[in-house]
Symmetry: C2
Subunit: 438 residues, 2 copies
């Protein structure tokens, strides 16, 4: 049987999962592929730890350079993470004509244009299914299954840590701090959780998805990002009263010559299936002209689900090698010459529905002054509720707006914030509700 | 730019959708594929009807033979349906070295072994994503995304007509007859709805999925099939009281040397996301050793969603042609020499939970006699409720069982049915509840 030799860089959580699949399901994979996937070398600074794996002698090494230059190795799996060593090794592997599989969304979102260009010039494959949505085949769906479709929008729950925390606050009434501590105790959140809870991880993933969907260069810098650390049980409760759940969504919409791309806490109606995606699970809905809506749902992180996607990419490349068809599919879904710079729309220009919670002193005329400022700024109110519960001496006044322009809303809120009756900054949460009338 | 020539057989609903995508999104597809997909010939007995499409002169023909033998044509799309002409033309296309795309689940489920063998011998591709789940990439997921996984089970809502009817009965309290009439009026159900409502269409799809998932020859004949025509609003109501919804599910479980494969109305708990898949939508959950659970959700039928999958298959094959890699992936997911005959487990041998509604005369001792027979047959009762409402002079007695063997349940039910207090055949609905204790 033909052999494809694989070199892996990094044997942490995901790397160990990949090795487990390649070893445990070796015969199963061969019976599908018609060739043997041979894990020839695994480079890691730690070659002593027990990973619950029995590597053949000589497989483990600390010399990653030797792995990426080994002439017998066909495919390099970069499982190190981070943007320094990982990048150098990927570029060196490409230089040496190796195909590369990675799960490194931070690296690709920040420096992908350079890396993909290097792969393009060298004519090697660079696959990254595991970088978005763990086991969900969202990249394969965009590059292959939806190839006949114009993608209209993508809305996803792409960070399991945030989804776990928000589910916890929603179901148990925990505070953000308590829920985060529990996520960390369960291993869902890193000790430094900034990348997750502030929305950057989801933004990395969204940057890759919009490139694949719309044929644009990777552009992370202009994606609007807002995390979940200021979400309170109070807003989650009020959301529920209006028929909404709060999720950290990565949202993108194809606006023709521009693209909406943003990550922020969002209210979605109960009957949107995304609102039922709870705990550490991920899901993404893609709307496209032929399929209508299609949703993928599964584990977005974790050792084995992520490893499954790495193995899928590895097999795709192995099949290309076996059939002599490297680069059968363009790396970023579109032929390189058709990839354009499409600007991400500044968040000020988006139109959406808003939930705004004001903390105002309980005095006559407050509602009239607030609604006057909103009206002057072209924001019309769909619903308003004065909540009985006093917080810090003031009363929450909750409004849902009709579709309004973000810039107008920002302007109105800062005007309102400077009123003498405003006791705290207003809380603003965007609403994604396709059934909501204007 | 390189051209791939396509010949299409049949230009009904799905065929028209395919032509629409290939014409309307021609430039978009070229910008992804790097070649032009050219719809060279379309054969149909009706070349006069207005399909809302402007074909170039000479594209439409009534001569399907000429299309499948045209030396300039690379890929044949079989969009005729049925098992006679469609089969002959597919075989003739294969004989002539054409790659084939089809959405014809009935043909493949019944005669697929012969057709795939012909394609195998000739070395051509035969793709059929559109035959299962409309736009959902379930076949691509099984053949590619889950290639490193051992598939443990698949549970799907694979027939939109049945799901629409059951949703209608659940939400509006319609009878089966009323809901069917409405499905027909809306175009979701054919005038002859037998294939759909009796579960055969879902069974065709399941036969293909189990072959792809477990590496077995296609075996439709041993799949247990039960339709939805006897489902009543009463059972749906009682299901709801126990926290379940009724769906027509296609269920398969990998039992090692044997496979469970069955289609029947099934109760699933509210917190199972499949229970929230309503209307004409489809969804499928795949459990596998590395990914855990993964769910695909979308339109399982209809002109454009189905056409999207046909176009995706067509592009896959075009890419194989362009890179000289025909048959890059084995047709049925496993290398032909690794495809075994794996027996489908007789339904009598399955173990599951049951909902049983007895219609018994309201006399003392009835419950004791019924539960005695159940106990004697190794069936233990989890919950029993005597419903107040009289139907035809008798009272419904509803029981949920712990896990029991189907053969034991059948035996017990026929014993109970012969009791003098039994006024009507018991209604039996299987329950799929992973959280349900034994």
């Amino acid at each position: 049987m033909k052999e494809i030799n694989i070199g892996m860089l990094g044997c942490g959580t995901v790397g160990t999962g990949v090795a487990k699949i390649l070893i445990k399901n070796k015969d199963l994979i061969s019976s599908r592929v018609g060739a043997s996937l041979n894990l020839k070398s695994v480079a890691d600074i730690d070659i002593a730890s027990d990973r619950g794996l029995q590597f053949d002698k000589g497989v483990m090494t600390t010399d990653s350079d030797k792995v990426v230059t080994d002439p017998d190795i066909d495919i390099i799996l970069e499982m190190i993470g981070g943007e320094t060593i990982a990048k150098d090794l990927i570029l060196k592997a490409i230089e040496n004509g190796k195909h590369v599989v990675t799960a490194n969304k931070a690296l690709l979102a920040n420096q992908g244009n350079e890396i993909f260009k290097a792969a393009e010039i060298k004519g090697v494959d660079l696959a990254f299914e595991a970088s978005v949505g763990g086991c969900m085949p969202i990249i394969k769906s965009l590059r292959e299954s939806l190839v006949g479709n114009k993608i209209k929008s993508m809305i996803g729950i792409l960070n399991g840590t945030c989804n776990y925390i928000l589910s916890k606050i929603t179901d148990d009434g925990s505070t953000f701090k308590e829920a985060l501590a529990e996520a960390q105790a369960k291993g869902y959140a890193e000790a430094d959780s900034t990348l997750d809870v502030e929305g950057y991880d989801a933004a990395h993933k969204l940057a890759l998805l919009i490139s694949l969907a719309y044929g644009m260069e990777i552009d992370l810098s202009n994606i609007y990002v807002e995390g979940i650390s200021s979400i309170t049980p109070m807003d989650i409760e009020y959301a529920g009263q209006f028929g909404y759940r709060i999720k950290l969504l990565a949202i993108s919409k194809n606006r023709g010559d521009t693209v909406e791309a943003r990550v922020h806490p969002t209210m979605i109606p109960f009957d949107n299936i995304l609102s039922n995606v709870n705990g550490s699970l991920n899901a993404i809905n893609v709307s496209a002209d032929a399929v209508g809506d299609i949703l993928l749902y599964g584990r977005g992180a974790g050792m084995m689900p992520t490893a499954s996607s790495v193995v899928s990419d590895t097999v795709d490349i192995a099949r290309n090698i076996l059939s002599g068809s490297a680069r059968r599919i363009p790396l970023l879904s579109f032929q390189m010459e058709n990839i354009r710079k499409i600007p991400v729309m500044p968040v000020d220009e988006i139109f959406t529905h808003y939930y705004i919670r004001f903390s105002a002193l309980d005095k006559p005329g407050v509602l009239s002054r607030i609604s006057g400022i909103l009206g002057k700024n072209e924001i019309s109110i769909k619903s308003v509720q004065q909540k009985g519960r006093k917080t810090n001496g003031s009363v929450p006044l909750v409004m849902l707006t009709h579709r309004a322009k973000e810039a107008d809303v920002s302007k109105a809120l800062s005007e309102i914030n400077s009123l003498d009756v405003a006791s705290d900054r207003p809380v603003l949460i965007r609403i994604e509700d396709e059934n909501g009338q204007d």
